[in-house]
């Protein structure tokens, strides 16, 4: 009787563990699905503010304008219709507020009753006009031509160079500089922190005096617990001016500052996990190697490290994950300029910093909101690819050792 009861309890506990595993997996999958679904909605929307259209005079031969051209026109960088395939005329910009330059407030009406007719008149009377007006004031008798809405294309999103998500009439969602910025900062953070972290782990596990190790380990684990805002503050006050002085730069907020901070943040993780993995090498293996005449270093290099390679790979993955996804610290020290980095000494803008800075104000369900989710999806894919690569490398090592 007692046995069946025990068996039942065991089965029950097994069931609970299975259930919790399933729930966790399903939750993670749902989050990923939600991320991609919101992000993909981006490509069904135009980048113009909802409820607004762009209108030109009927005599204008131009039939469509790309998002980039619209932005350049309203920024004053494209000044003649000839540059976008029209006649050789200067472009005249018109926003709906400018209607008061042409008509008085009484003519417009207290509730803007006459606005549709007046807008129509203005657009009709100026042949080189481009007007950015609310759709609700464009009625059937509108005498101008409304330019067709252009949806955001995949190419524009992935290879566009400019990130101006709130610019009207044409918001620019070019994620290329963000993607390269993220990869650049993370690459250097990993290059700095992985070798350094591994070296410290080997030192602490194999070479250090036990007293030194017992002192260092809790200190390093303490470092892992410091909030990232504190690191960001430290970076802004200490690291940025130091870089500015050291390299004689006009400004210290650079990718280098971001990489250094990320490396400092990833180090404790990499060190503690690698060190634990290295320490689990069985003494028998180490002693066998030493008995065969190998030196301590040869033992470390040829026996200990390959044995703990899966633990070191785990440490690397976690460290890389921290380096790529870290938001607050990077937001405060890299300068957040959306340019493609050509050297370490220029400011960059990373994806997590962009999401953190802009998520609060993006209207829910709008194109900016969906663009941020698309960025999150890109970040997820980047981390996934790197994790798969690290896993693959460590597996290859294990297989080749057999």
């Amino acid at each position: 009787m007692k046995n069946t009861f025990k068996r039942f309890i065991e089965r029950f506990v097994e069931g609970i563990l299975f259930l919790s595993g399933t729930i966790t997996t399903i939750t993670v999958l749902l989050i990923v699905v939600f991320l991609f679904r919101e992000g993909s909605g981006l490509f069904n929307n135009s980048t113009m503010e909802k409820g607004f259209v762009l209108a030109i005079n009927k005599s204008n031969p131009v039939s469509k304008l790309s998002s980039y051209e619209i932005k350049e026109i309203f920024d004053g960088k494209i000044t003649s219709w000839k540059q976008v395939g029209g006649k050789d005329q200067p472009i005249q910009l018109f926003h709906v507020e400018d209607i008061t330059n042409y008509y008085t407030e009484e003519q417009i009406g207290a509730n803007f009753e006459n606005l549709p007719k007046l807008l129509s008149n203005v657009v009709d009377s100026i042949p080189n006009i481009v007007a950015f007006v609310p759709e609700m004031y464009v009625d059937k008798s509108f005498k101008g031509r409304v330019l067709p809405e252009k949806k955001l294309t995949l190419k524009e999103f992935f290879f566009g160079r400019e990130w101006f998500p709130t610019s009207q009439p044409a918001a620019q969602f070019g994620a290329f500089s963000l993607i390269t910025g993220t990869l650049w900062v993370s690459l250097w953070a990993i290059l700095i922190s992985l070798p350094l972290g591994l070296s410290v782990a080997i030192y602490m596990a194999e070479i250090a005096n036990p007293k030194v190790r017992n002192f260092l380990k809790p200190v390093i684990e303490l470092l892992a617990g410091i909030p990232s805002v504190v690191y960001g503050f430290f970076g802004l006050i200490v690291i940025v001016p130091t870089i500015q002085r050291l390299f004689d730069l006009p400004v210290g907020e650079t990718a280098l500052a971001g990489s250094l901070i990320l490396a400092i943040m990833a180090l404790p993780t990499i060190i503690t996990i690698s060190e634990d993995a290295i320490r689990t090498t069985p003494r028998a293996m180490k002693e066998a190697s030493l008995a065969l005449g190998a030196t301590h270093w040869q033992t470390i290099y040829k026996v200990v490290l390959p044995y703990s390679s899966s633990g070191i790979a785990a440490a690397a993955i976690l460290g890389i994950g921290r380096a790529i996804g870290e938001t607050m610290a990077v937001l405060m020290v890299t300068g957040n300029a959306a340019i493609i980095p050509s050297s370490l000494l220029e400011p960059v803008r990373t994806i997590p910093a962009t999401i953190a800075a802009e998520m609060g104000e993006a209207p829910q369900g709008g194109v900016h909101f969906e663009a941020l989710f698309a960025l999150g999806a890109i970040l997820f894919i980047m981390t996934l690819i790197i994790n798969i690569v690290v896993d693959f490398i460590s597996n290859k090592k294990k297989i080749s050792k057999r």
Partner: protein, 275 residues
């Protein structure tokens, strides 16, 4: 058993009280420019007896207005007027929004204290911030690169500066975006060639404000008296937006800030009183 029960109840009581109180606070959220001012007014207001306490958070004008649309805040502080799509959103959610001007703010253009340049025209400011002018020597300063600092796109300060000083043109791609006014002050105070813009109340001795001219003839310093008299051109109203359904609950706080006591705090904090 009984002792444990009583102890549990006693520990739970303050929690209930806190929860009840929290449910009955006036939540104010939004612009970082109005944040220090609102915090000081809220402190003075909360000291009074029998009033609903006020809780204030920042995040940017865009964040505050989004929160008002979603109903997670009672008052949205903003340093810019409502955008068209925000008005449409309020209509769609059946919210009737009222706006109150609680103070005026002057936007000050600041540079590093060692910068020789002391005044700029609006056109020069536009060219610097859009990236057309890249070296200080083009505006009468030393031969050094101009480092442009701006706020993030969620900031009302950003929107106001873009619309009024830059005539709606976009910032240079190489402009460094900082997410808080404090970061801009910190960065400009440690970068010799930097230029940026902050609310007048944040200017301290670590940065140098510039005189601005809109007609290339009269240069006006950003001081309190110039802003109050209207001579300083980069001035903007600071708003509180709220749902008229909550007007009764919010009336004590709003009338406090518009009263003589509230406006005195406005003036002490470096903003311009409305009356």
């Amino acid at each position: 058993m009984k002792a444990v029960n009583i102890r549990l109840l006693l520990t739970a009581l303050p929690l209930f009280a806190a929860a009840a109180a929290l449910g009955n606070t006036i939540k104010v959220k939004g612009s970082d420019t109005t944040l220090p001012l609102t915090q000081m007014v809220a402190e003075a207001f909360n000291k009074q007896k029998g009033v609903t306490p006020v809780a204030v958070t920042g995040g940017g004008s865009g964040v505050g207005i989004s929160a008002l649309v979603e109903g997670t805040t009672d008052i949205a502080m903003s340093s810019r007027p409502l955008k068209f799509h925000e008005k449409v959103k309020f209509q769609a959610n059946k919210l009737v929004v009222k706006e109150v001007v609680i103070a005026k703010d002057a936007l000050s253009v600041i540079v590093h204290p060692s910068n020789k340049v002391g005044k700029l025209t609006r056109q020069q400011l536009e060219d610097i911030f859009t990236g057309k002018i890249t070296n200080w020597k083009e505006v009468g300063g030393a031969d050094a690169r101009i480092i442009v600092y701006t706020r993030e796109t969620s900031s009302g300060t950003y929107e106001f500066f873009k619309e009024h000083v830059m005539n709606k043109k976009n910032f240079a791609r190489t402009a460094l975006s900082m997410s808080a006014t404090g970061s801009i002050i910190q960065s400009i105070s440690q970068t010799k060639g930097a230029i940026g813009y902050v609310g007048l109340a944040y200017v301290n001795k670590h940065v140098k404000p510039l005189a601005v001219s809109y007609d290339s003839k009269n240069y006006v310093e950003p001081t309190l008296s110039n802003a109050q008299s209207g001579k300083y051109p980069i001035t903007r109203p600071l708003f509180y937006f709220f749902d008229t359904k909550n007007e009764a609950k919010l009336k004590p706080f709003i009338s406090y800030i518009l009263s003589a006591k509230g406006q005195a705090i406005v003036k002490k904090d470096g903003y311009i009183p409305v009356k």
